[in-house]
């Protein structure tokens, strides 16, 4: 059974790494979108 633990570890680490990266991308995208929105709002109120 020990062998299966290794296999399970390897596959879950791979998937976790990929999903963490995708989450990171999403988070950054959200942050940028927020910032853009802020800027737009600020521009509107300025005008």
């Amino acid at each position: 059974m020990d062998r299966l633990v290794y296999v399970w570890m390897a596959f879950s680490i791979t998937w976790i790494a990929i999903f963490v990266y995708m989450l990171m991308l999403g988070r950054r995208q959200q942050k940028l979108a927020h910032e853009l929105e802020h800027l737009r709002q600020a521009l509107k109120t300025k005008k």
Binding site: M9, F11, I18, L32
Partner: protein
């Protein structure tokens, strides 16, 4: 608008294909490919390990090509491509470096063996981490693109020399990691996995590029606003 809608469709296509291929590769790895005689199930790690490694290498090759094209054309599009590709490549090398030891632990009873390919991957990881340090160290867009392109070229040219030197250096007997000829069905599973990772690379690269584009757009707007103040 038309362009972006088209892009979105292309993006969706890649996303679905990636998902499908990932499932297919799981099927191929666990149900289709036969058990290896000596390592039994642990050999299954080999598929993702190699799939990630090949595509990491491919990603760095793209960084190299995009860097050269950038220096020739000065089109920031290629700088964005290089940056995104390096990021995904870094992710894949991380996967290689994480799965390698797990496999090594079972096969040779040690987490780390300084096996030439794994060691080269480790140095690659350092080089492309440095690539991002260079990027984050320059604020100005054009200069950042030039300097990181130069580093991307230098880094990639170093890879074969690193591999040779690490292989000669290894006082340990080089262990043939593929374990002799692959069973044809194992080869099929490997091909599917490599393909799945290739599509994953394309998908993530697109996402990272979109992100980088937004970031640069935002920076442009900010700079313009600052000028007008």
């Amino acid at each position: 608008m038309k362009g972006s809608a088209y892009n979105l469709r292309g993006h969706n296509f890649i996303a679905w294909t990636t998902g499908f291929l990932m499932l297919a590769s799981l099927y191929a790895i666990f149900l289709y490919a036969p058990l290896e005689r000596h390592m039994l199930e642990v050999q299954k790690i080999f598929y993702i390990h190699v799939g990630a490694a090949w595509n990491a290498f491919f990603a760095f090759f793209i960084v190299f090509i995009a860097s050269i094209i950038y220096l020739k054309t000065r089109n920031l599009k290629y700088d964005v491509l290089a940056a995104a590709s390096a990021e995904v490549g870094l992710l894949f090398t991380t996967i290689v470096l994480l799965t390698g030891p797990i496999w090594a632990r079972h096969s040779w009873n040690a987490w780390w063996t300084w096996e030439p390919r794994l060691t080269t991957t480790l140095i690659l990881w350092f080089i492309y981490f440095a690539y991002f340090l260079v990027r984050s160290g320059v604020a100005e867009k054009a200069r950042r693109a030039v300097l990181s392109a130069v580093f991307g070229i230098i880094g990639f040219l170093d890879v074969p020399i690193i591999y040779i030197s690490v292989r000669w250096w290894g006082s340990h007997p080089t262990i043939d990691t593929t374990g002799g000829g692959l069973h044809p069905m194992m080869l099929h599973a490997l091909i599917v996995t490599v393909l799945a990772f290739a599509f994953l690379y394309g998908y993530l690269c697109q996402k990272a590029m979109a992100l980088e584009n937004t970031r640069q757009e935002l920076q442009d707007i900010k700079e313009k606003l600052r000028e007008s103040i």
